[in-house]
Amino acid sequence: MDEPLLVADEIVAGYVTGVDVLRGCGAELGAGEIVGVIGPNGAGKSTLVKAMFGLLRVRTGSVRLRGEDVTNKPAHELVSRGIGYVPQRQNVFPTLTVEENLRMGTYLRPKQFASRTEFVEELFPLLAKRRQQKAGSMSGGERQMLAMGRALMMEPEVLLLDEPSAGLSPAYQDQVFARVKEINSTGVAIFMVEQNARRCLQICDRAYVLDQGTNAYTGTGTNLLHDEKVIELYLGTLARVR
């Protein structure tokens, strides 16, 4: 059987020497899938994405892309191999214009700027109207659109999203989840860490529930959404009535 597109295997990683945030957790992302990661605060969701993207050193375990070991490769190298990443906070270049932000997205392939800008602006029409606006003056929701647009400029095969709906108004949250589905429909595999567990599970093909740096539950989005233990521990009992 072919190995999935992206695999994180038995990852141990942390920020401070001697303290492991991730304690052997893992995840897999197949081509064209949407995979979600949910869990309580401090479970290590964002840490897992950072470790997979080379922004945090993996102590033990491995990250493989198309079967090739890319553990601890620098992030800029992973971008050239087809992975895009949208951080949770500080996800735009505030002192650069919208156009310059998008241009940075094609830093490694400047020639595809025009064609990719067309694609991104079709997905996020707002960006076309704000090309010369400084990103630092945009609202949180607008920045999230720009951040996703920038990450798509390199035509990635995999998009890693770190809590894309965090801090956004309900209207913008709806937009974010709709855009994630739309991006996925163009063939981009999406690995999404999300604090809005219910919404995340609704759009995911599969999901992982992390707890204290380990995999607590794994399953399809629909199954986890109706799993009694997951509802009890992570979604809240109100989720039952929805």
């Binding site: 922004l55 992030a75 800029h76 971008v79 500080q90 002192t95 830093y107 630092g136 609202s139």
Partner: protein, 329 residues
């Protein structure tokens, strides 16, 4: 908040530099009299020239701070080394004309900047050294380099062989020597060149991107380490060029860069931290205020007035002249 990171070292230098200045100022005569407008215009011109030299050196310091958040206290020594290397090539055994000597000094400054990044700052960062520790290391490096220059160059102020004393020609009510006009013109061209590079080239936009958000720059495919190396090379070269210009307009001394450092810091804070254009504008303001203050006050206190202007501007506009506040939410 970023302004305050630099205010502490700034106040420390302020104390060190101003203490002797205040002492020396005792008994100085304040010049007053006729032809005040002519003298004011002359001071304004001198201030613009001085500001251009501060700007050339401050841009590098600002770019290093923007891309690495390192407050490089040793930047002044790169200025001194530029001036001193050109001096030895010009007056020493080789006897080169100051123009080729200056070009070689710029290359030496650029190489030294690059070597500092590759051999010191990059390994320290990889080992997770904190910014405060690195700031203290820049102070130690500054002391070390300054005293190496002191041992090699000596304490005696020196001048370059060419363009030492020149007759000023009149431009209406003001006068300027051909040397100062050339230095000013080259400085402006260099500053415009840096601005063009930052605004219109791929590496320039990458430098601005790294200054704006280092982690996101890496996540966008930019090799941040390479960009930072370019910034150090550029900063070292510009500092050396500024050193040669400062040595040509004033004199060459073993601590000339350190004396200029306070004004560089003032320029980049006044203009808006992290903004290279702000550093340019701020440096011109500092140069003009410093020179024009001597119309009314003792020349030894000119740095104090420049710093007073800095404090006043920051009270009104805490982000500096060109600094921008970011929208929250």
């Amino acid at each position: 908040m970023r302004n305050f990171r630099l205010l502490v070292p700034l106040l420390a230098v302020l104390f060190v530099v101003l203490a002797p200045s205040v002492a020396a100022a005792q008994g100085d005569e304040v010049v007053t009299g006729p032809g005040f407008i002519d003298r004011a215009l002359q001071s304004l011109l001198d201030g613009i020239q001085f500001g251009a030299i501060i700007a050339i050196t401050a841009v590098g310091l600002s770019l290093v701070f923007g891309t690495t958040h390192l407050i490089n206290f040793a930047h002044g020594e790169l200025v001194t080394i530029g001036a001193v290397v050109a001096f030895f090539l010009n007056v020493g055994g080789l006897g080169l004309h100051i123009i080729p000597a200056a070009l070689i000094a710029v290359v030496v400054g650029a190489v030294l900047g690059g070597l500092l990044q590759l051999g010191l700052w990059s390994p320290l960062r990889r080992r997770g050294t904190g910014m405060i520790n690195m700031f203290i290391i820049t102070i130690g490096l500054s002391l070390l380099l300054r005293h190496v220059v002191l041992v090699i160059f000596g304490t005696r102020p020196q001048s370059y062989r060419e363009y030492d004393i020149q007759r000023a020609f009149d431009l209406g009510p003001v006068g300027i020597t051909p040397r100062d006009l050339a230095i000013f013109s080259i400085s402006l061209l260099v500053l415009l060149g840096v601005a063009f590079m930052l605004q219109k080239t791929r590496i320039g936009t990458a430098i601005r991107a790294v200054s704006s958000n280092r982690e996101l720059a890496e996540a966008s495919g930019i090799d941040v380490q390479r960009v930072v190396l370019v910034v150090w090379v550029l900063g070292g070269g510009l500092a050396a060029l500024g050193g040669v210009f400062f040595g040509l307009t004033e004199i060459i001394t073993w601590d000339m860069g350190f004396r200029l450092l306070l004004l560089m810091f003032a320029g980049i804070i006044l203009g808006g931290l992290g903004s290279p254009y702000g550093a340019m504008v701020g440096s011109f303001v500092i140069g003009i205020v410093a020179q024009m203050s001597s119309l009314w006050f003792p020349i030894d206190l000119q740095n104090a007035w420049a710093l007073l202007a800095l404090i006043l501007v920051l009270l009104i506009r805490p982000q500096g002249i060109l600094g921008q506040r970011e929208r929250v939410g």
